[in-house]
């Protein structure tokens, strides 16, 4: 525990770096998680899900 404290929060600049690094990691994790949730809730309704049908159809027409 003490080692963890010394590693993370001993100095102010240390803590600032840890906070910004964790903010970066948190944002990435949060964004990917929320995007996955959104895609999961709208499965089969987005353009990227149904694109294959129409693009193939266009190619067949040509």
């Amino acid at each position: 525990m003490s080692a963890l404290y010394n590693a993370l929060f001993r100095n102010n600049f240390q803590m600032l770096g840890v906070v910004f690094a964790s903010a970066f990691a948190f944002e990435m994790a949060y964004d990917t998680g929320m995007n996955r949730l959104w895609d999961n809730m709208n499965k089969g309704r987005q353009w990227k899900d149904i694109r294959s049908r129409y693009v193939e159809a266009e190619e067949e027409e040509e």
């Binding site: 906070v19 903010a23 948190f26």
Partner: protein, 236 residues
């Protein structure tokens, strides 16, 4: 009259003040009598009866921190740091979304560039395409036309500009088809100089799109364009 009034008012005030004082005094005296009565009835017990016991300091050992001081510091700074991290991420994404909002949307970007296949344009022919709502002239010039454009004394022009400054490749002349006079669309392969002629007010442009005769003040404008491949032109 006025002085009398004031005098009577001050008198009245004095009387009322003395009355309230009297009332307060009476109230105090009555409450004291009541207290005395309660004490004399014998039901009163002092809260300080077991006084020696109450001065003993209780044992707080159960509540004391068993670990080192850094354990609780770690927890406190962890909470503060987590809050800071979430706030920083939120602030960053707020600013980012606002800035994203200001950038051009996908449909605007899709209209901003036009790609032309130059193989489809034979030598000595004009092509007019639409770019950002405006016509763009593309002419595949012959070598005679290039020579003709280079032969002209630049100093004699109204808007002096050399032919090399107006083209990237001499055989391809690309310019906006908007007359610099009042914005009509000039007609190709017409006019006194073998170039373009504006039917609205009679401006004549030569084979390099430079103004030669008529009311227009400037040469036809050249848009930004590039040749990403040998036979491909991208305007915009």
């Amino acid at each position: 009259m006025a002085s009398l009034n004031i005098a009577s008012r001050t008198l009245a005030r004095g009387v009322s003040r003395s009355c309230t004082r009297l009332n307060v005094a009476r109230a105090l005296s009555t409450s004291a009598q009541l207290n005395d009565a309660a004490a004399s009835s014998g039901s009163y017990s002092s809260p300080f009866k077991g006084e020696p016991k109450s001065t003993k300091i209780p044992d707080f050992g159960h509540y004391l921190n068993k670990g080192s001081a850094n354990t609780s510091l770690l927890f406190q700074y962890f909470m503060v740091g987590t809050m800071g991290a979430i706030t920083a991420a939120g602030a960053k994404s707020t600013v980012q979304e606002f800035l994203k909002n200001m950038s051009a949307s996908a449909d605007v970007l899709a209209m901003a560039k036009v790609e032309v296949d130059l193989n489809a344009i034979p030598e000595g022919k004009n092509v007019i395409i639409k770019w950002r709502g405006k016509p763009v002239f593309i002419r595949h010039r012959t070598s005679e036309e290039i020579d003709e454009a280079n032969k002209i004394d630049i100093a004699s022009l109204r808007d002096p500009q050399a032919d090399e400054d107006r083209v990237q490749k001499p055989e391809w002349l690309v310019m906006l088809g908007v007359c610099t006079h009042l914005g009509c669309v000039p007609i190709g392969e017409a006019g006194d100089y073998g170039g373009w002629f504006c039917p609205c007010h009679g401006s004549h442009y030569d084979i390099s799109g430079r103004i030669r005769k008529g009311p227009a003040p400037l040469n036809l404008e050249v848009p930004t364009y590039e040749f990403p491949e040998e036979d491909k032109l991208v305007i915009g």
